[in-house]
């Protein structure tokens, strides 16, 4: 099990966290077309490589934070702040 560096609590087992998803701006709900909105809801890049994603430290500080993770090696090169 990988360690995930929580920006508040320090490195913890990944099982303490809930994976929220790739981060991306929420489109403006007043102007978005259905296509844009659904792309936001359902389409993810899922690259082999670096991805910026949101995690929730459910069993710890209960903060949402963003992390940059390499999907092939699970290396996390930065984490912190809000997604």
């Amino acid at each position: 099990m990988m360690l995930l560096p929580c920006p508040w609590c320090g490195p913890r087992n990944a099982s303490e966290f809930r994976y929220v998803g790739e981060t991306g701006p929420r489109p403006d709900p007043t102007t978005a077309t259905p296509e844009q909105w659904r792309r936001h809801l359902y389409f993810h890049a899922n690259p082999r490589g670096w991805v910026r994603e949101s995690w929730y430290h459910r069993a710890g500080c209960r903060r949402y934070f963003a992390a940059e993770r390499h999907t092939a090696t699970n290396e996390v090169r930065s984490s912190g702040g809000h997604s």
Partner: protein, 222 residues
Amino acid sequence: MSDADRSADGPTVTIARSPIAAPEPLVPHRGWEVSGRRSAAALTITDLTPLAKVAVRAPMDGAVQRALGAPFGRAARDGAPALDGTLVVGSGPGEWLVLAPVGTAGEVREQLAGIVTEAGEFGTVVDLTHGRALLRLRGEASADLLAKVCAVDLSDAVTPDGAAFRSSVANLVTDVVRDDAGGVRSYLLHCERSSGQYLAAALLDAGAEFGIDVDGFRDPGI
């Protein structure tokens, strides 16, 4: 108030109970039913649920934090004078839990509200005395016991005396405070009240190999 609401000798007797089944003898203590059992075992578990528990929320690293004396991740007994006799736990970023003697929740809540007001920050104070179960493990083997149910490193390098962290304990989200007492290793564990009995049972099970025993409540407990 109706007649049915009065006990034989006068006013209403309301009894507060911990969610954790208490071993005999049961004795009253400031409106709570607690265990009067005494154990001399080297490793003990004590139900401290009756303690007052008040949560504070305010900006991290602000004036409230300075007054409380405990940053996130640490517990302290040396905060503002108004907090004498309490243990302030930095339980989250911008989150504190203040533990105080039984029956003092109202006063502590007011003291804390005063601190928040004086700090001039957006802050809130909520009495969670009835919302959490609180246990103390005491004994040199308490770290070995905890290492059976908690994945966090309990060594002095990571969690020295005074460390406060929240993690999974027996698969239950639990706040853990290392609070050595009289040179003996000790941990406070608090969780949602409804799972208190589960947590106590899991700790007793994990501690069986170390000869764990239940020690009843002793005032002030903190």
